[in-house]
């Protein structure tokens, strides 16, 4: 096979990986601050994907254009879930949190099944078959737009946490729970905001992924797992780590699909996860003893 095929596939993988990174960022932010593992992460993304599919088939609204309102819907959902339900589980043991989020995941998956049926749906954007020629590279328009949007959203999120007072306050909660309480921060509200930001991230990522993949009601767990793999590879709680993990996993999946068989691609992602857990359990960008 000529080299440019590998290069094209690799670039496609990296662009998809950027979207994966944004999805995983949502999980990472939630865990890093609230210390709850969102086992319904992928299911929450399928909600966003179905909203986007419906808007597209009914009004021909492009998922990327609808990204902001859809992310806003997921933000509200995440806020309500954290404030109404998950906050009281923050101090409970992990298995109790797990059971709660599995229950939420079961409800989401099957509610989507009732509403939209079991068949896979997708969005045929006007640019679905376009591509750009950049030197020897041929890049799919859908992947390029999705990847660039993911970079923009991620940059916005980084800026929010770095430069705004609210972002700083949330980081304070993550660093020192008691300290944040002592200086008078409303930790419960900040937790709800964080969870909402995390679900908004995954909602935005869902809009972008819809340009690349189909959606079915039962696709949630696979994305939840993928987000875990990425976040742990990059470092649970580390924001740059989630992005780097996303790119790494996107690249691995794409190349494994090319070199072996697409159906075996997740094996390589899991192999990376196992290696990282054993030799660098804090992840590529993680701090020791997080």
């Amino acid at each position: 096979m000529p080299v440019d095929i590998y290069l094209n596939v690799a670039v496609g993988g990296i662009l998809t990986g950027l979207v994966y990174g944004l999805m995983a960022l949502g999980l990472s932010v939630i865990f890093g601050v609230v210390r709850v593992v969102n086992f319904a992460h992928g299911e929450m993304m399928t909600i966003a994907m179905y909203i986007a599919v419906t808007l597209f088939s009914a009004f021909h609204l492009d998922p990327l254009v609808m990204l902001v309102p859809i992310a806003a819907v997921l933000f509200v959902l995440g806020y309500a879930l954290q404030a109404g339900l998950i906050n009281r589980f923050v101090t409970r043991p992990e298995h109790s949190q797990f059971l709660l989020l599995v229950a939420i995941a079961i409800i989401i998956t099957n509610a989507l099944l009732i509403l939209f049926g079991p068949d896979s749906q997708n969005v045929q954007a006007s640019y679905a078959y376009d591509s750009f020629q950049i030197g020897p590279l041929i890049v799919d328009a859908t992947k390029l737009y999705a990847g660039l949007t993911a970079v923009a959203v991620t940059a916005g999120l980084f800026a929010f946490f770095r430069f705004t007072p609210l972002g700083t306050a949330i980081r304070a909660c993550a660093d020192n729970y008691t300290g944040a309480m002592v200086v008078g921060l409303d930790v419960k509200r900040l937790y709800a905001l964080t969870f909402a930001l995390g679900t908004a991230c995954v909602g935005a990522a869902g809009c972008m992924l819809l340009l690349i993949f189909d959606v079915t009601p039962t696709v949630g767990p696979a994305y939840t797992l993928l987000a875990f793999v990425i976040v742990i590879t990059g470092g649970l709680g580390s924001m740059p780590g989630a992005l780097i993990g996303g790119i790494l996993i996107g690249l691995t999946e794409a190349l494994a699909g090319l070199l072996f068989t697409p159906s075996a691609k997740s094996m390589f992602a899991f192999a990376i996860l196992v290696l990282v857990l054993l030799f660098r359990p804090q992840g590529i960008m993680g701090k020791r003893a997080a």
Partner: protein, 334 residues
Amino acid sequence: MIARATAGVTRRGLVLLAILLAAALIAPFFASDYLLTVLILILYFAYTGQAWNIMMGFAGQLSLGHALYVGLGAYVAAALYVHFGIGPWLGLLVAVPIAVATGAFIGFLAFRFRVGGVYFAILTIAFAEFARVGFDHLAWTRGSSGLFLPVAQYSHNDLWQLRGHPVMFYYILLAATVLAFIVCRSLLHSRIGYFWLAIREDEEAASAAGIDTFRYKMIAVVISSGMTAFAGVIYAFYYNNLFPEQVFNISRSIDIILAPLVGGIGTLFGPILGTVILEGLSEGLRTLLGILGIDVPGIKQVFFGIVLLLVVVALPEGVWPWLARRFRLTERKQ
């Protein structure tokens, strides 16, 4: 002997236990074919839940990949039967050690490299998923097109080859569930059991007190994976077909752990009570929706999810500890 075996249970609890066991023994004579399949499912999950409970409930190691051990047990025994005509009880002698070795390998890696908590849980998922995709591409077990056993003849029950009527599987699983209960109870009240509880409550303190935490966590993984693999062998010969996509799926791992979580983690009756509640709920919803004439795919699971949510919000310790206190079935909290 008997006094020691029943220590901690009130007379009321013992009478209830005896009635329950008697009911379980005569149930197949009264149950319809459909009810029998539900009862078999209940016993299957009571047994596998008990096995999982050893790892999480006793030793505090959250495994979310127990489908791996079910799948290995099922696939190894079934493949030996299909390829070489080796019966399930002999196949068991190969299947269980393979699952145990796999469990020990995962445990060794995790505990040596100090992978704990959420990380350990995700490591177990990763290995199960790895096996799922791997078996999808393994030609010896027919990959994703599925491994089929010759369909059973119901005319006579061949216990040695596990070919026969579902009633036979019912009694095998009933025996396994009772045996698992007795084993777990004696383990819990042994030296190993106390060490496990110490590790579960505070691993550092346990280690400081001189407990070899690595060793006792390994024992938990080995016993748990071996017991679970036995359920896999029975699964293969009961259903007669195996698909990696189904057997190793993460949903199967979650199915196994829901019962002990709902019933009460770390308790002996939790897995049994939990599976009765969950299957009862599931069947009750099915019947109710049937009467109401509602036939929408997914609606049963939505209600199921809602009830699960309410249970976990209202009874964080699980149903059994609450029930045992409320009706004074045990003398002290187990």
